[in-house]
Structure formats: structure tokens, C-alpha cells
């Protein structure tokens, strides 16, 4: 039975999550040099276009069609049999096509997150091929394992409310792999590449935060109490993490920075994502305060020490934040919040942490290996990295023959 309230809320949530990808584009776009800002915006926008089509043709079927084992198969390809009546196993009160569209927005933003790792140096043509292959062979299977009917991580009892493993750990690990393979940006060793427009970055952060209400509260798939719980903990964790990072900046770099506060808020949103439907508000504050500490250590201590050039810290924020969120779900989950969930370690069920760790480990291993293989194949066929000359000129001019900013009117 279609419920009009549920349907209305998930329709709105779907639109909110769609806005996150352009929001992400501005978050990233502000952080790159001004000769590469269109390159970033174009890549994010193109992922929106390309995965929208991939998803209705076969992505949704591979991820969610009933199947056993690796992925869902092609029985729902081209939305065959995916109609306007509810499909009870996924969402009993909204049209099946609405569930499909809501999931499409997740499938779009996940590959878009990876873009931050290889900014300012990937060829646009190679980018297109990499993204289609990655969405098909990494995102779709993992999505099936965690959320699909017959998905084996789902059957094990792993808790992932809105995509901590599927979206954030997955994208964060892929980002680290691509950053390692594609190599450092030219000149990153001897000079800082300064953000060209931090106001863009804060605007993007705000749009992400706004869209995240759809991402997390929409994942209850209904207009109900659980959605409100997710909404409250999402807002709270983001706020706590933003404050936490600002104070870390203040302590270790003398001043609280705009970039640090924005980064902290995003880390908080990442960490609360798997937990949003399972934890209470006090737990959300703890999850938020701590995620900034873990991410801060990786971004400002581990990364410089190891020397990989994950340009915009996709691994440091989404990978690490996602891992913490998945583990924290196993610590703080409580059946008093969601009877359909499980209790975590602090509520008397230590086994949940082990299940969470298994889901994290499997996601890391699969994403790392298959992302590497895809990268190598694309590199072999068409060379992933732009020439040194094109990199110096910037992606805006060399890949798209446009400038973001004019000098004179």
C-alpha cells in the first residue's frame, strides 16, 4: 500500500541527495587552483549524468535485483518489472521506482567522492571510462552485499543505515588507490597548492549538510520517528565534529580555520551515516567529537609522513570517517532507538562490533583490489594521467578549452 506521507518524504529526500553532488563539486572546486575549478565541477556534474543513465539501464538491477551471491543479475535491466507499485522487500509504502531513484542518488555521489583524490591531473576521457567501470564492478556488487535481497553482509547482520561501508569506506579506499597509482601533482613537493576559493568550499559544505538530511533521514524510507532520529543525530554529529576540528586547528595551528571547520563537519556527517538509524543523540555527539580527531591525525600527520597525494583528503575524511562510523555503530547501536536494528557493545552485545569489523574489512579488501585492477586496465588502454604540459596549463583549458574566470570584462 502506497503511503502518501512516506512517498512525499522520500521524493523530497531523493532531491536533497541529488543536490549533494553539485554541493560536493563546490566543496572540492574551492579547494583546487583556479585553473582546475571547471575540471572538478565538470567531473562531478558528468558523474551525475553518466551514472543516472547507467543506473536505470543496468546499475539498479546489478545492485538490487533478487539474486544470490556476487550481485543481482540483469533481471531488472532497463527497469524491467520495476514499476510504480511498492516492492515490499525494500520499501512497502513507496513506489518501487521511487526507491530506485533514491538509490540512484547514492550510486551517483559515491564515485563522485573519489574525484577529490586525483584532482588536477586525470584525463577527462580516462575519467569517464574509469567511473563507469568502477560504478559497475565496485559500487554495484558491494551495494548488493549490504542492501540487496540475499546480500551476504546483510544476512550476517551488519548494520549500515545510510551507506558508511557502501558509500564512504568504498569511495575512500578507491581514492587512496587511485592517488597512489596516478602519483603526486606536479610541484606538490616544493610548494603548497592553495585553495582558490574557500567561500565555495564552505558553500559546498553547507549544501552537503543540507542534502545529508535526505541521505540519512530519507534512508528510513518513511515519514516516521526513525527519520526524525536520523535527522537529529545527523545534525548533532556534524556540529560536534565541526567544533572538534576547529579546536584541533586552534591547538595545533594557532588559529581555527574555515577549511578545518568545514572538513570536520563533513567528517561528522560521514561518521554518523551508518549509525543514524541506530544510535541516540548523546552517542552522536561522541561519534562526532572523535571522528575529527581520527581524521585530523590521518590528514595532518599520517599523510605527510607517508607522502601519498590524496589531494583533497577523500581517504582521510571519507575512508577514515567511514571506518570509524561503521565501528561506532557496533559500539553505540541500541534497540531502544530502532527495534529492527541490534544492540552494540555498550548496550551489551559485543558480537556486533565483530560483525561491523568484518563488513569494514571485506569492503576495504574488495574495493582496494578491484579499484586497482580497473585503474590498471584504463591506464593500459588510454593513459590515465594528463601530460605534464596539460597539467601545467590546467584541466580547465587543456581538457575543456574554457576558463572559469575572465581577467577583463
Amino acid at each position: 500500500m502506497i503511503d502518501t506521507g512516506d512517498t512525499a518524504w522520500v521524493l523530497i529526500s531523493t532531491a536533497l541527495v541529488m543536490l549533494m553532488t553539485p554541493g560536493l563539486a563546490f566543496f572540492y572546486g574551492g579547494l583546487v587552483g583556479r585553473k582546475n575549478v571547471l575540471g572538478i565541477l565538470m567531473q562531478c556534474f558528468t558523474v551525475l549524468c553518466i551514472i543516472s543513465v547507467q543506473w536505470v539501464l543496468f546499475g539498479y538491477s546489478l545492485s538490487f535485483a533478487p539474486g544470490k551471491g556476487f550481485w543481482g543479475g540483469l533481471s531488472w535491466a532497463g527497469l524491467h518489472g520495476v514499476g510504480l507499485e511498492p516492492y515490499g522487500d525494500y520499501a512497502a509504502t513507496i513506489p518501487h521506482q521511487l526507491f530506485m531513484m533514491f538509490q540512484a542518488m547514492f550510486a551517483i555521489i559515491t564515485p563522485a567522492l573519489i574525484i577529490g583524490a586525483f584532482t588536477e591531473r586525470m584525463k577527462f576521457s580516462a575519467f569517464l571510462v574509469f567511473m563507469v567501470l568502477w560504478a559497475t564492478f565496485v559500487y554495484d556488487p558491494i551495494c548488493h552485499w549490504v542492501w540487496g535481497i540475499g546480500g551476504w553482509l546483510k544476512n550476517l547482520g551488519a548494520l549500515d543505515f545510510a551507506g558508511g561501508t557502501v558509500v564512504h569506506i568504498n569511495a575512500g579506499i578507491a581514492a587512496l588507490m587511485v592517488a597512489l597509482f596516478i602519483g603526486k601533482r606536479n610541484g606538490v613537493n616544493h610548494k603548497a597548492i592553495l585553495p582558490h576559493n574557500l567561500p565555495f568550499t564552505l558553500l559546498g559544505t553547507a549544501l552537503l549538510w543540507f542534502g545529508w538530511f535526505g541521505f540519512n533521514a530519507g534512508s528510513s524510507l518513511g515519514a516516521n520517528g526513525l527519520a526524525v532520529n536520523a535527522f537529529v543525530v545527523t545534525n548533532t554529529a556534524a556540529a560536534a565534529a565541526g567544533l572538534s576540528w576547529a579546536f584541533l586547528d586552534w591547538i595545533f595551528n594557532k588559529k581555527p580555520t574555515v577549511l578545518g571547520t568545514a572538513t570536520g563537519a563533513v567528517a561528522g556527517l560521514v561518521a554518523i551515516t551508518p549509525a543514524a538509524g541506530f544510535v541516540n543523540t548523546v552517542s552522536a555527539i561522541i561519534i562526532g567529537l572523535l571522528v575529527s580527531v581520527f581524521c585530523y591525525i590521518v590528514v595532518s600527520v599520517v599523510k605527510p609522513k607517508l607522502g601519498y597525494d590524496d589531494a583533497l583528503d577523500v581517504f582521510g575524511v571519507h575512508g577514515i570517517g567511514g571506518i570509524w562510523g561503521a565501528i561506532a555503530t557496533g559500539l553505540f547501536a541500541s534497540k531502544s532507538v530502532n527495534p529492527a536494528g541490534a544492540d552494540g557493545l555498550f548496550f551489551g552485545n559485543p558480537k556486533q562490533v565483530l560483525i561491523q569489523l568484518l563488513a569494514v574489512g571485506v569492503t576495504i579488501a574488495y574495493s582496494a583490489v578491484v579499484s586497482c585492477i580497473i585503474y590498471k586496465i584504463v591506464d593500459l588502454i588510454m593513459k590515465v594521467r594528463v601530460t605534464k604540459k596539460d597539467e601545467t596549463i590546467g584541466l580547465d583549458l587543456s581538457q575543456h578549452h574554457e576558463n572559469a574566470y575572465t581577467i577583463l570584462e
Partner: protein, 113 residues
């Protein structure tokens, strides 16, 4: 004393700066400008995006030097800026009648270095 003005390709700025520092020329003013030469804005494979008709983006360097730094400065700009393609730019060398450091009031060759 000479004032050296160079118009170069934007993507060569980093290489030109590196070459200048190697030649111990550590003072410069850099501005982003628009312009074109004889080809009226036609360049080889990598055309810059044109603005205001056929004007292309260039970088203008201004460097004031004492006599014995003139040739090293010109050489450094040549080394860093030359690609051999149309649009590499030009170097102008002008006589400089005086130079005053505002902070101290020093004048002439003293004030440049």
C-alpha cells in the same frame, strides 16, 4: 640600471621563476595581462581561450636590475620561457633612471638589490 619587462606564456611562469632564482634574481613583480602578437591570437595546438576578441592570457614580469644582472636575467627568462612555439612572448629592456626604496630612502643601485 635597467628595467626588464617580459611577456611570457602563463604556463611557463613556474619555470621562469625557477630559472630566475637559480640566477640569483630574487625580485620581481608579476601581473596577469591580455595581449597578442603578429599572429593576432593564433597559437599552435594549445590555443588559450580568447578574451575580448582575440586577446590571449599572458604573464607580465617586471624586474629592475643593476648592469651585471641584465644578461643573467635575460638568459633565465629565455631558458624558462622558451618552447619554440608561436606565442612564447618578448623581453623588453629599458634604461632606468632611478630607483628609490621607500622604507629607507636609499637610491640608485643600492636600492635595487
Amino acid at each position: 640600471m635597467k628595467l626588464i619587462i617580459a611577456i611570457i606564456k602563463p604556463e611557463r611562469l613556474e619555470a621562469v621563476r625557477d630559472a630566475l632564482y637559480k640566477a640569483d634574481v630574487n625580485l620581481m613583480t608579476v601581473t596577469e595581462v591580455l595581449g597578442h602578437g603578429r599572429q593576432m591570437g593564433v597559437t599552435e595546438v594549445y590555443r588559450g581561450a580568447k578574451e575580448m576578441g582575440n586577446l590571449l592570457r599572458k604573464i607580465r614580469l617586471e624586474i629592475a636590475v643593476n648592469e651585471h644582472f641584465v644578461e643573467p636575467t635575460i638568459n633565465a627568462i629565455m631558458n624558462g620561457g622558451q618552447t619554440g612555439a608561436i606565442g612564447d612572448g618578448k623581453i623588453f629592456v629599458l634604461d632606468l633612471s632611478d630607483c628609490i626604496r621607500i622604507r629607507t630612502g636609499e637610491r640608485g643601485g643600492e636600492a635595487i638589490g
